[in-house]
């Protein structure tokens, strides 16, 4: 193995020599990792001074982690530039062919390139964070807890690694630096949203969600690495001269994949949809198995995180001990997704079939897009979150001295029989699409993407949408009726 990794090291070494001799890389690296923390320290100190005058120490405590996140994020943006240029740049300068002509395997070249885009930016991020913490500490600005500092290091490095793995993949698939640069938004936009989400959790010092976010980012990074390795081929690098979008071909390909060999709707269901379900079987089994696991996780989170938090910070109405039946009823109104109006007769939210269906369909499409940008991984996380919420609510109902089993029986089961399978199917499809994308098949990535899209569309049309329609019809009529009857009976 050591022998196999040696060429990776030689490529990395060569690239580092190149980078360290290029002032256009050195300059921003130095500015972002050295001067930016200095200026950020000045800003932080002046804000802290201003806030201290008003005695808002709590705000200071919340602000510092956020500035650390910013200090870690900006040097990582240089990673995008280096990684985006790493392969396509060589291609454009015509230096790639001699490299491809060496007796190296594809993965050795790709890994060498990926690491060469990683070392300098990650070092810059680590240096910037450490330097900033040192400066902040010297100026007597209160530092966050060691656990939060460690988490901030993890988040910054994970963000950088994800951007690099995504950008290197883009670089390998682009034909010109221009096209790679134009595609950079596919990395930059999700990364920016991610930082916003991280900042949100950071403000509340919520370490558990941050831990899961880091895990998800690392999973996406590994998925991108795998994707890059699968589609990095000498043939692709030298065989394509320009990026062409042949829409007519794509539409034909989509329609062929969507329809399959079927000649009628019956055949389509009998052969094509059935075959999809057979292919999806492992993914479906995984998601079915994850159901009790995430439910249990939800219960665990409710016990270990939410309960202590509620007991210390929540108003009396949602305390878990010694509440009256009326208070518990009010608690239930807060917890349940079905909010009942003051008159008890008409729901506060008009739970029409159309509204429910639109909401569920939007969620399904959102999961599809989440899965698309994260190679199926974020879809899986969304599933865990959804089922985990059911576990949390289950525990919440128990705290309210209500029977979760009965409530789920009246409030979830009637439409859940249709909605939950459609949800599992939708998540499993998105997950399977990601797996399919990172599994070598010999087909071009554009073909796999279109076939994936056709698969998703087929299952949506054939099963998911009909199930969601039935679920919405049941929920808007039977479930509302049963739940309302149950709520009135326990009042």
């Amino acid at each position: 193995m050591r022998e196999k990794l040696q060429p990776v090291f030689w490529i990395l070494r060569r690239e580092l020599i190149d980078q360290l001799r290029d002032w256009r890389i050195l300059f921003p690296l130095i500015v972002l990792s050295f001067f930016f923390p200095i200026s950020m320290t000045g800003i932080a100190q002046s804000i802290v001074g201003f806030i201290s005058r008003y005695g808002a120490e709590l705000v200071i405590q919340q602000l510092v982690p956020f500035t650390i996140l910013a200090v870690g994020f900006f040097p990582s943006t240089i990673a995008l530039t280096i990684a985006l240029e790493s392969i396509v740049g060589e291609r454009e300068r015509n230096t790639i062919e001699p490299l491809l002509a060496t007796p190296l395997e594809n993965w050795q070249i790709y890994l060498g390139k990926l690491l060469s885009g990683t070392v300098a930016p990650v070092m810059a991020v680590l240096f910037a964070l450490s330097f900033y913490l040192f400066l902040v500490h010297r100026r007597d600005v209160p530092l966050p807890s060691p656990g939060l500092i460690a988490m901030l290091y993890w988040i910054s490095v994970a963000n950088t690694l994800m951007m690099i793995s995504g950008a290197t993949f883009i670089s390998a698939q682009s034909t010109t630096i221009r096209s790679a640069t134009l595609s950079s938004s596919f990395v930059l936009l999700p990364a920016s949203f991610l930082v916003m989400a991280e900042a949100n959790f950071l403000f509340w010092k919520d370490l558990l969600p941050l831990f899961w976010i880091v895990m998800a980012i690392l999973l996406v990074t590994v998925a991108f690495l795998r994707l890059g390795l699968v589609y990095f081929e000498r043939e692709n690098l030298l065989g394509r001269e320009i990026d062409t979008l042949n829409f007519r071909r794509y539409v034909r390909l989509f329609w062929r994949a969507f329809r399959g060999e079927a000649r009628s709707v019956g055949e389509w269901y009998r052969y094509e949809v059935r075959r999809d379900l057979q292919q999806l079987r492992p993914a479906l089994l995984i998601f079915l198995a994850l159901f009790p696991v995430s439910l249990g996780l939800g219960v665990y989170v409710a016990d270990t995180v939410i309960k202590p938090a509620l007991e210390t910070a929540a108003p009396p109405s949602i305390q878990t001990e010694g509440s009256s039946r009326e208070e518990l009823y009010q608690t239930l109104r807060r917890i349940l997704p079905l909010s009942v109006s003051g008159s008890e007769e008409a729901p506060a939210i008009p739970l029409s079939m159309g509204f429910i269906f639109r909401h569920n369909l939007t969620s399904t499409i959102f999961v599809f897009f989440m899965g698309l940008v994260s190679l199926g991984t974020m879809g899986a996380f969304a599933y865990l979150l959804n089922i985990g919420l059911l576990g949390i609510v289950w525990r919440g109902l128990e705290w309210a001295q209500l029977s979760p089993l009965k409530l789920y029986l009246f409030g979830v089961a009637p439409h859940g029989i249709f909605e939950i399978p459609s949800m599992i199917l939708s998540f499993a499809t998105v997950f399977y699409m990601g797996v399919r994308l990172i599994t070598p098949s010999g087909k071009p990535i554009s073909t796999i993407l279109i076939e994936n899209l056709a698969l998703w569309a087929r299952l949506m049309v054939a099963l998911i949408i009909p199930l969601l329609l039935i679920a919405a019809a049941v929920e808007s009529s039977l479930t509302v009726f049963l739940l309302k009857a149950y709520l009135l009976s326990i009042k």
Binding site: P7, R14, N94, T102
Partner: protein
């Protein structure tokens, strides 16, 4: 040894190379002669296992280019059409990088090879200068040195002297001939007719991905224009007669010169010369009528167009 059997390559709906077949033995140079876009580079890339053939197969030193690409890469020294280098590295570092990738792990051996190649190509003094400061010719020479760093038995040279000054081109040509003498199989692609004629033992004329004609320069000329023609000049007008062998054809007969088509010149020409002297003819010169490779190339292209093989 280089073997290509019905090698074909399709990009989308476009066939870049079609049914290309040839063999290059050790110690032989084959020139792929054709205009830009004829399929020369694609053929070379397939031979070096950089592109997968759509149909057909190729072997380098017996290694299949699809099944054993790494063995193929070890056996081939490749000079690409664009002689681009890593401009921030110096000449020595550049060769060292490739020496390492080709598995030259022994530092002493690596240093020896790099130094000798740099010296041979006259780059010894420039070894510590960055490649970005090199002239075009120097870059070309360093690229060739890179192709030779692992002492490969097969060389694939794509436009080896394109855009070089005459002096540098001469040096590269000499080096190619020296490598042939060291029993290497060499394939060069070029659109330079003079270079092809100077270097190649055999020439394959390629257009629109097809090989239109293959052979030694002489064979190609014979194939296009028929048997070689010879011009016999007299010192003074001569009207005598001579019995010529049946296979020799007199194309034109004037008092001061004859134009003959001779099928086996090595044996026939001395007989004709002696016969004429015996008949008392005052002979001045006997020489082959020059037929350039350019004429041959153009004639091959015209013939292929006529036959509808190319557009």
């Amino acid at each position: 040894m280089i073997e290509a059997e019905a090698l074909s390559k399709q990009f989308d709906s476009f066939w870049a190379v079609r049914e290309v077949t040839f063999t290059v033995k050790m110690g032989e140079i084959l020139a792929l002669l054709g205009q830009n876009g004829a399929g020369k580079t694609t053929t070379i890339r397939m031979l070096n296992a950089l592109l997968r053939p759509t149909r057909g197969r190729a072997r380098i030193m017996g290694y299949d280019t699809v099944e054993q690409p790494e063995a193929v890469h070890r056996s081939v020294g490749m000079l690409t059409e664009q002689h681009s280098l890593y401009l921030r590295m110096n000449g020595y570092e550049y060769l060292e990088f490739y020496a390492r990738l080709y598995g030259l792990h022994d530092p002493g051996e690596r240093r020896r090879r790099i130094t000798s190649l740099l010296e041979y190509f006259g780059l010894g003094q420039a070894a510590s200068r960055r490649c970005g400061e090199y002239s075009k010719g120097m870059r070309q020479k360093l690229s060739l040195a890179r192709a030779l760093i692992h002492e490969p038995p097969v060389l694939l040279l794509d436009e080896p002297t394109s855009a070089m000054d005459p002096e540098a081109a001469q040096l590269v040509r000499q080096e190619i001939l020296r490598l042939r003498s060291k029993n290497r199989a060499i394939l060069i692609s070029t659109h330079n007719l003079t270079e092809a004629e100077m270097l190649a033992d055999r020439i394959a004329i390629i257009a629109e991905g097809r090989i239109l004609a293959t052979g030694t320069p002489q064979e190609l000329k014979r194939e296009v224009f028929g048997e070689a023609e010879y011009l016999l000049r007299f010192q003074s007008p001569w009207e005598g007669a001579i019995t010529l062998p049946e296979s020799v054809e007199v194309v034109e007969r004037k008092p001061m010169e004859w134009r003959l088509r001779v099928p086996q010149p090595q044996t026939m020409l001395p007989l004709i010369w002696r016969g004429l002297l015996e008949q008392g003819a005052a002979l001045l010169t006997l020489q082959e009528v020059p037929r350039s490779l350019e004429e041959t190339y153009l004639a091959v292209m015209a013939r292929a167009r006529e036959r509808g093989e190319i557009q």
